[in-house]
């Protein structure tokens, strides 16, 4: 039995911590630059950057406190945060405060608390506990169902708030599941279903059917050409799939046309970009693109920039914080920031892979995937590559709940990493 080694702060991955601090500092600086014009002359604790700094202090304190706990204890009680999250999410429908059309917050006097943020770490912990059970194999249908339920339940509650953006983040867990053994075929099928659904809303039925039939035809030809055995079985399988695909497309279009109400249809059209909304939410995006463009090579300079100055972008301290970066620090600044963030994400994947226990690996992998999802979706949205959904960048966008949750999450992962040589 290995002796219990005294773990101290030096065993924590200093690279991750350094990247985390740098990124968070950049975030606070950016929020400050937005506040400079949008909220001039306020006392520190009433500014966004002031509050963010406060929450950072809270986050670090909580992380320190948590790091004193025994890792086995945490692993034992891992289901508790998950159950608590479910209760909190459900409770929103009764006691939640509505902001921007979605009941996603609890108003607790001084600050607002968003349970869907807590859900990210809770689901990760719950998933880690579930998958690390003895003899848990992901290719068994029962287990698959359990996992689906575990992740799906919070996602459903979040979708009902409604908060499409946050719900999208949970797709990141597909990566975790795939890494832990979920068969590739299931992943491909799942992605295929979703892709088909989106295409169904975008393209006319005839076009899609033609496309599917062509693909099916090519597959059958390949089967008959390249395969020596099982030609009939494989071909029938392809035909079955084709029928299923066409049926699914038809169902999707039918739902859209006959079951959805007009304002819901309009919402979807807006998200898909089928109708442009130059006066409404399309306005944010347009202003964001303008601001990013005006950044050019080196940026307008800190606290400079016509868009920043002109306060043209509402929500700039949250969803559009990257825009503030791009306008002030240009292409070079944007690339530099992206490099830092990607380094953190890749480092977390590395840490995940060097874990000896499934529990800590799943935990770290979840964090890396969720961060990656946030990172990609937010920047793609802000640059017009993805429909406008409200997703912040962790550690950078203003948001007390998010900052605290992700910091604690990060230090949790680092703690398990520091203790990885120990026996359980």
């Amino acid at each position: 039995m290995a002796r219990k080694k005294r773990i101290n702060i030096l065993d924590y991955d200093w690279l991750s911590i350094l990247l985390f601090l740098t990124i968070t500092a950049i975030g606070i600086t950016l929020i400050y630059s937005v506040d400079y014009y949008q909220l001039p002359g306020r006392p520190f604790m009433q500014t966004h950057y002031g509050k963010q700094s406060f929450w950072l202090a809270v986050a670090l304190t909580l992380s320190f406190a948590m790091s004193l706990l025994d890792k086995k204890l945490i692993a034992q009680w891992a289901s508790l945060p998950y159950l608590l999250t479910l209760v909190l999410l459900a409770g929103l429908f009764v006691a939640g405060k509505e902001i921007s059309g979605a009941k996603s917050w609890y108003s607790l006097g001084f600050f607002n608390f968003q349970p869907s943020e807590l859900a990210k770490i809770a689901v990760a912990l719950g998933l880690a506990k579930l998958i690390s059970e003895k003899n848990f194999k992901l290719n068994q249908p029962v287990n698959l169902l359990k996992v689906l339920l575990l992740i799906g339940l919070p996602v459903l509650l979040i979708l009902l708030q409604p908060d499409l953006g946050t719900a999208l983040i949970y797709f990141a867990f597909i990566a975790v599941l795939w890494r832990e053994g979920l068969p590739t075929s299931i992943v491909i099928t799942g992605i295929g279903i979703i892709l088909l659904f989106i295409m169904a809303l975008y393209f006319p039925f005839v076009h899609i059917m033609t496309g599917i039939l062509s693909v099916a035809l090519i597959l059958v030809v390949i089967i008959f050409w390249k395969f020596k055995k099982n030609k009939i079985i494989l071909s029938s399988f392809v035909i079955l799939l084709t029928l299923a695909a066409i049926g699914w497309v038809y169902l999707s279009q039918y739902t859209y046309k006959h079951i959805l109400k007009p304002h819901q249809q309009k919402r979807i059209d807006l998200i898909l970009g089928k109708i442009k909304d130059d006066r409404g939410s399309g306005y944010h995006l347009k202003q964001s693109l303008i601001a990013i463009s005006s950044g050019r090579w080196k940026g307008e300079g800190f606290l400079n920039g016509t868009q920043l100055r002109g306060k043209y972008i509402p929500e700039q301290h949250t969803d559009y914080i990257f825009t503030a970066l791009a306008e002030q620090f240009g292409w070079t600044g944007s690339i530099f920031f992206m490099a830092l963030y990607l380094m953190l994400i890749v480092r977390l994947f590395q840490l995940a892979e060097r874990q000896k226990s499934t529990f800590s690996r799943v935990l770290a992998y979840s964090l890396a995937s969720v961060l990656a999802m946030h990172f990609l979706l937010n920047i793609m949205m802000v640059t017009g590559l993805f429909p406008t959904v409200g997703i912040p960048i962790p550690f950078v966008s203003y948001g007390g709940t998010s900052l605290v949750i992700f910091t604690v999450f990060l230090f949790l992962v680092l703690k398990f990493d520091a203790h990885r040589v120990e026996e359980w």
Partner: protein, 620 residues
């Protein structure tokens, strides 16, 4: 590292490269967004959208737009100038000019603000020639309303310059914009005003507007306001205006099957064109200062009067519904009746006979209805409970509260209940008899003419009404759904039959005998409401207000009217003939009783109104 992890990191990398490529396109290449970025440094000029037109129910154009010209100043571009000369040129006072300049500077040094406005094309021509001597001043084409009718001013409303507080509240408005301040123009302002467009221009070193940016390809076109079709029949409205000459009062005509308001007349009124144009402010001052005529006071919506005898229709309905009376209920009426140690007078002509509903209604028997009222109040056991039940019925007919039609002004009227009388008499110090005047429509109840018309609509429909409304359609779309909801009165439709029969009898044998129209069955009810005034400290009784409510044809009414003539005397004298002429005009299209028409047109009540307003004048 696990193989799958490599793949995931690669996917991450691919997406990141895609983002970098996109950023390169946005930031390093010349693109549309760079051009958009420059927009914020350009001069942005708003383009006025065309305000929606207003039509009557038959598609006749009532209100459209006409171009006028306004003088604008951009403070940063002005140089020293002769204030007196410019003020003279603009036909405003030097103080006004100075004030406008100060306001303009406060709003923005670089944007144009209005200095003086609404010149017609003829007036602006000489200005155009000489204004170039005053750098910083320019002329802009705007629009004001053009009216194709002299009637319905109370319905159409007028426009006014937007106030600073409204500019703060709603970012749509800029100084100098015109916004609906009354009537339909105000209620449907958001629909009529459309959406502004924008044009972008380069600025030169002195911040002056130069050429259009990118040939206007970044400009946004304005969206014109939507056109409104009103329920008003302007021909009917004009006809009623002519009948009401030299009289003060109100007439409301509604189509009961839809709740559409066919005519909404307040007399005297004013020509709506007067409030469109440069002299607007002076005209408004004059109209508001006219204490004798009060032309801007909409009596049809705001005038509160005791309902008088038409109220007895409601008493009858409530009495029948509550079961305290039926066809065979009779009361002895001997020029009135004694109650307590007081006496209620009655002129129904019964002279000691027993009166039933069939007689009581057309002859307006006070005895019958005040006794019925007492029974209604005492039925639940206490007057307090009874009056609240009674008040409940009245509220179901739309009395005692806003009717929630689509015009911006109104009055609730008054429907007294137990709380009211507790305050009025003292807590629990009253019984049903103390409020007996309510029974004959002469108590504390107060109604507005539109409320009475609405009551008639409910009776015409035998039990429900639609909220009265002025908007028929917007761009061929029907108005809000709430106007198509039936509001039930809680009176079973079977009880309407005897009441309507009574209303028919009013015309056949009763108080409105002389206003019959050959060939049309009208049902109605005459009424008077007492009116007092104080002259030299003394309370003087003036001629009663003349009231009449009617519906026709009785079998399936197409129109209901309520007519209130201030100080017109008995209902039968003026109000009934007026109602009858209106109905004939609407249903038949022409008038066949010229003598009746002449009589109405010649009726002149101005002397009474002058007495009311100014007190007795010295005769010389």
């Amino acid at each position: 590292m696990n193989k799958r992890t490599y793949i995931i990191i690669s996917i991450l990398g691919i997406f990141s490269l895609g983002i970098i490529w996109r950023l390169s396109f946005l930031q390093l290449q010349e693109n549309r967004y760079k051009k958009w970025a420059r927009l914020n440094a350009l001069l942005k000029e708003s383009v006025e959208p065309e305000r929606g037109l207003i039509y009557d129910r038959k598609g006749r154009l009532l209100v459209s737009n006409q171009p006028i010209y306004s003088v604008y100043v951009t403070p940063s571009e002005t140089k020293a100038f002769d204030t007196l000369a410019l003020a003279d040129l603009l036909d405003i006072s030097p103080e006004e000019l100075k004030r406008s300049l100060i306001k303009a500077k406060k709003y923005s040094l670089y944007k144009a603000s209005q200095v003086s406005g609404q010149y017609l094309k003829e007036e602006i021509a000489p200005l155009k020639a000489t204004l170039f001597n005053y750098p910083g001043f320019s002329i802009r084409k705007r629009h004001i309303r053009k009216y194709f009718t002299q009637h319905a001013a109370n319905v159409l409303g007028y426009l006014q310059e937007v106030s600073p507080s409204l500019i703060k509240k709603d970012s749509f408005y800029e100084p100098g914009d015109l916004v609906g301040a009354a009537g339909i123009e105000k209620y449907y302002e958001k629909i009529l005003r459309g959406q502004k467009g924008y044009r972008y221009f380069y600025r030169d070193k002195l911040n002056r507007k130069t050429k259009p940016y990118e040939n206007g390809s970044f400009d946004l076109a304005p969206v014109p306001g939507k056109n409104l079709k009103l329920t008003i029949d302007i021909e009917l409205q004009a006809f009623i205006d002519s009948l009401m000459i030299n009289k003060h009062g109100a007439v409301v005509a509604i189509e009961p099957g839809t709740g559409e308001i066919l005519a909404l007349v307040s007399a005297p009124s004013y020509n709506p064109s007067l409030l469109s144009g440069r002299k607007r402010n002076q005209v408004i001052k004059r109209l508001l200062g006219d204490k004798l005529h009060k032309p801007m006071y909409d009596r049809s919506l705001l005038g509160t009067y005791p309902p008088g005898s038409p109220f007895k229709l409601l008493e009858a309905l409530i009495g029948l519904q509550e079961g305290v009376i039926n066809r065979h209920t009779g009361y002895k009426c001997n020029h009135g009746f004694k109650y307590g140690n007081r006496f209620m007078h009655c002129h129904c002509g019964a002279n000691g006979r027993i009166v039933h509903l069939r007689y009581a209604l057309p002859h307006s028997c006070n005895t019958y209805f005040s006794q019925t009222y007492l029974r209604i109040l005492d039925k639940p056991g206490s007057a307090q409970k009874g009056i609240n039940r009674w008040a409940g019925y009245l509220k179901n007919f739309g009395l005692g509260d806003y009717l929630h039609y689509d015009l911006p002004v109104g009055r609730k009227g008054l429907v007294p209940d137990s709380a009211y009388y507790h305050r009025y008499f003292g807590h629990d110090r009253w019984k049903s008899m103390n409020t007996i005047s309510n029974g004959i429509g002469q108590g504390q109840v107060l109604v507005t003419p539109i409320q009475m018309a609405n009551v008639m609509a409910a009776i015409a429909n035998r039990g429900f009404y639609y909220t009265p409304h002025i908007l028929k359609s917007v761009d061929n779309h029907p108005p809000e759904y709430r106007f198509r909801i039936k509001h039930f009165t809680g009176i079973d439709s079977v009880h309407f039959q005897p009441v309507i029969q009574g209303m028919l009898d009013v015309y056949r044998t009763g108080t409105a005998k002389y206003s019959q129209i050959p060939g049309i069955n009208i049902g109605g009810k005459t009424g008077t409401a007492e009116n007092f005034t104080r002259i030299n400290g003394k309370r003087i009784k003036l001629p009663d207000h003349s009231i009449f409510v009617a519906m026709a044809p009785v079998e399936k009414p197409k129109i209901v009217v309520s007519v209130f003539i201030e100080n017109g005397g008995f209902g039968a004298t003026l109000a009934a003939p007026i109602a009858s002429l209106i109905i004939e005009k609407y249903l038949k299209g022409k008038i066949t009783r010229q003598d009746l028409l002449d009589k109405v047109l010649q009726a002149n009540l101005n002397k009474i109104y002058e007495l009311k307003t100014y007190g007795p004048q010295k005769k010389n």
